[in-house]
């Protein structure tokens, strides 16, 4: 920056990187600790005190999680639930967001308000009625029930998210497409959709993560081993008299892997600036 001495510039850089480093340590330390405990042998867990890395490493925790527990099943259940939820929510929210972004219709303000209101209830408050309803519909203790509930709870936010992304696509583009020979649906598919991919990517990522890490409804609605998601399954490592920290942490690390892979895959869709050059500017 002009008008600054060399010393001020260096001090400023150190301050900036120092602050970023502090934040990164703060955010990543729990994950690091999870990994550390997952590779610590059972006998060293309590005997070594607090150390940054154990003196011996083991993968025994991972082996027993994968072979001796139901964890692979939980894992698969979580993937089924999260992927289905993310898919359904994104499709529905895209259409709903398009309607809110492009059309004027009676009751539009009311729809927005109701969507917003659903986000203000504490979840704990709605668990009993939902449990009763789902019970009568025969949707407790199965994955469909979870998908329905997660979809319902994520759709409001996802709709607002998609609406704001769609608001960012100029109306002129759609009109140009309609004059060029598209129906409204064609224009949506050929012009609007490709330009909202980053937005849809963000929505998919958001909903997937929310469904992946959800615990409360999973815990309330699922009983049998075969239907548990991994977040519920993690609690099976909590015994009556002891917690199997090593295995629990190994399972947690394994649960992180799909989320990380998922974000790596989505990253290229999350780049913004795809609409640059469409209109003036």
């Amino acid at each position: 920056m002009p008008g600054q001495s060399l010393f001020q510039r260096i001090a400023g850089q150190i301050g900036l990187y120092g602050a970023v480093a502090c934040y990164v340590v703060f955010a990543l330390l729990p994950i690091y600790w999870t990994i550390k405990i997952s590779v610590t042998p059972q006998d060293l867990l309590y005997s070594e005190g607090i150390r940054l890395w154990p003196s011996r490493m083991t993968l025994a925790n991972y082996a027993s999680v994968l072979k001796a527990s139901d964890f692979p099943r939980y894992f698969l259940n979580s993937i089924i639930v999260s992927v289905s939820t993310a898919f359904i929510v994104t499709v529905v929210a895209s259409f709903a967001g398009y309607a809110l972004s492009r059309f004027r219709f009676r009751g539009k303000a009311l729809v927005s308000l109701v969507l917003l209101l659903t986000q203000t209830f504490p979840l704990v408050m709605v668990i009993p009625p939902i449990y009763r309803i789902m019970g009568q519909l025969g949707l407790t203790d199965n994955l469909y029930g979870l998908i329905i509930i997660y979809t319902a709870f994520n759709i409001a936010f996802a709709t607002f998210l998609m609406q704001s992304f769609l608001d960012g696509v100029p109306k002129d583009l759609e009109e140009a497409a309609m004059i060029d020979g598209c129906t409204r649906l064609d224009a949506l598919r050929r012009v609007i959709l490709p330009l909202t991919l980053p937005g849809m990517g963000a929505t998919v990522a958001f909903v997937f993560t929310a469904a992946w890490s959800e615990l409360l409804f999973g815990l309330m609605l699922i009983n049998s081993e075969s239907q548990k998601t991994f977040s519920v399954g993690l609690l099976t490592f909590v015994g009556k008299f002891a917690v199997d920290w090593g295995q629990m942490m190994a399972a947690s690390v394994l649960a992180l892997i799909p989320v990380c892979l998922f974000f790596l895959f989505l990253q290229r869709y999350l780049v913004t600036g795809l609409t640059a050059g469409a209109v003036k500017g």
């Binding site: 002129d172 140009a176 020979g181 609409t275 050059g277 469409a278 209109v279 003036k280």
Partner: protein, 351 residues
């Protein structure tokens, strides 16, 4: 190519009437400019012809076909937007070929049309570029190329030059006019810029508050504006107006001085009128309307002089180079045939 005919078009946004009883016939091959201040309804009218707005009543015909209820894609029109509206995820070639691809035209025809249009517009070397890699003027050309490739019945332009800088705007103005002369496609062009209207149009349609004020060739509107609004809107610098009262063959101005009215003016004695004089028709003379010089602006080709006279700010455009200083007292006059007379209450032309 086709004619466009509008009959009794009206439209409301809620309680506000944006178009009122619009009747207009546009001939095959004509270049018509809709001009007016913002909010006058010109863009709404254009968008109604395009099918992007629905109308509350009236008939829109393109050629012989009634298109009131046809979708935009079925009206065989092409539109150039103010924002260009290029598809950002497609390169120039695909932008131009988009409509033909949708129609499943044969590949050879598409290639031929795209290369013809890009040659015409000087876009040949840019076909593989994305819109974001183009300058404003190039984007504008692509938008026109996209329209030309279609070979539509009618071109619609919605303020296509408003986003360009002044120099590029005048270049593109000339290009669009030349393009129309070679293609001879019926064109409807919306602008708020009266210079664009004057220079490009075969006929100008002046609109105000959703009503057509006057339709005619540019010079006819300039020489014989139908009312005070058109008189003030067309021409730059704008026409000078003075409140006056008719007295015999003259008009008596607020400061007591008099100007001789043109012979054709039918004005009752003592009627409240407004007289209008274009800046280039005002001249310095020994007697007439006394004024005082406020500002002198030499433009090279002409000199623009601002004066205070009869309680108004008056602009005079002189082709010679008068030696004047602010504060000089000067008398102004105009030939009677150069004076426009309007009724003060209705605003309508009286001569």
């Amino acid at each position: 190519m086709a004619s466009v005919s509008l009959r009794g078009i009206h439209k409301k946004f809620g309680p506000v009437s944006v178009l009122e009883k619009i009747d207009l016939d546009i001939e095959d091959g004509e270049f018509v400019v809709l001009v007016g201040p913002s909010g006058c309804g010109k863009s709404t009218l254009l968008r109604s012809i395009a099918g992007l707005e629905t109308i509350d009543g009236g008939e829109i015909r393109i050629g012989d076909r009634l298109v009131n209820h046809a979708a935009p894609k079925d009206r065989d029109i092409a539109m150039v937007f103010q924002s260009y509206a290029l598809y950002p995820h497609m390169d120039v070639r695909r932008n131009m070929a988009f409509s033909l691809n949708l129609r499943k035209s044969p590949a050879e025809l598409i290639a031929e049309r795209v290369s013809a249009a890009s040659a015409k517009l000087g876009l040949g070397s840019l076909l593989e570029r994305l819109p974001k890699q183009l300058s404003g003027g190039q984007r504008q050309r692509v938008a026109m190329g996209r329209a030309i490739v279609r070979n539509p019945k009618v071109f619609l332009f919605d303020e296509p030059l408003s986003n360009l800088d002044a120099k590029l705007r005048s270049t593109m103005r000339t290009e669009i006019k030349a393009l129309h002369q070679s293609l001879k496609t019926t064109s409807i062009y919306v602008t708020h810029d009266q210079i664009e209207a004057m220079t490009m149009a075969n006929r100008i349609v002046v609109m105000h508050d959703g009503i057509i004020q006057q339709v005619g060739p540019p010079l006819e509107l300039y020489d014989r504006p139908a009312n005070i609004f058109v008189a003030g809107f067309i021409g730059s610098p704008t026409m000078n107006f003075f409140d006056a009262v008719s007295q015999g063959k003259s008009a008596r101005l607020g400061d007591g001085s008099a100007l001789v009215l043109p012979t054709g003016a039918v004005v009752k004695e003592g009627r409240e009128i407004v007289i209008g004089i274009r800046p280039e028709h005002l001249r310095f003379s020994g007697e007439g309307l006394p004024g005082r010089v406020v500002v002198v602006e030499p433009l090279g080709m002409s000199t623009q002089v601002t004066l205070d006279a009869a309680g108004e700010r008056v602009t005079l455009m002189a082709l010679e180079r008068p030696s004047l200083a602010p504060g000089d007292a000067k008398s102004l006059t105009a030939r009677p045939e150069d004076i426009h007379v309007f009724d003060r209450s209705t605003g309508l032309r009286l001569n």
